[in-house]
Amino acid sequence: MKVTVNQNLNPHWCEAIYDAKAAELVLYGRALGLAHGEAEDVLQETFMALMQMPFAPQKPEHYCVRSFRNRALNYRRSMWRRLTREWESLRWFEKLPDESPEERAAMKVLEELPVDQREVIVLKVWHGCTFEEIGGLLDISPNTAAGRYRYGLQKMKLKLEGVAYERDERESIAWLATAPAVGRA
């Protein structure tokens, strides 16, 4: 989602970016390994810093994402926070009204991907970044970014197939258990 604000006329350009990007930035924080509350803390820090700036940067969205990323990486280094993060169980996404078990499993699989892969996926899908932009942000080549994205999606697909296979297995075992014995049939 692209934010269009007349940055120099509107002193509160930060608020427009906040409205457009807050949820996506929190999701990005989760992808970087933060708990929901921690991602909110980093979001607050980032916007506090943005509001101190006398002028809006040229690309406020990119500046915002980069600033958020730097702060998030510093934030997650604390050992105590790392321990408390283990207790985090809040979902990354809003609960959909017609959410299927497969979709819920897919969300879980995304959460369990390696950080570098899920980071690229979040930037590409929910922040609408191109591979060039992602490469610039992470200091990697666009090809590497594209590779991480492909591997990540592939892993999700394979894991979901595994989940579906296990579920089919369980269902067939349950069906067999309820089936009448051969002699009586």
């Binding site: 906040y18 949820a23 509001m51 999606l153």
Partner: protein, 128 residues
Amino acid sequence: MNENQLRGWRPRRPSAGLKARIFSGQGTAMSPALPATRWNWHPFAPAMACMFFAVMVFHFNGGGSWRDSRPALYADFSSGSNTVTFSDRAQEVENHLAGVTFDWTNGSVLKSSMRSHFGFGPSTNLSN
């Protein structure tokens, strides 16, 4: 699993109060919305550090004057080891060489049958 399917998932929103916390101060000035009651201790940090160091160095002894007290903290930067040593006043007498007398080497109480070849008895008294 494709990109369009993923786009259908809406990221979880931050809590409602967060926006208010961030932008509450912007109506008056573009300053961060810090809590008004928060006491800022940062300017006092150097003074508190000096005070802590002074307490460590001037070890008060039972309410006596600070002139009588001797440093309990020694810093040795000369030997390249850059060590800081705390001295325990309770053990000061035992650790002071001048206060130690090796009685068994004292000639007046020597029980050994061996005599000194140098004409004087062994008297390693370091109290002087």
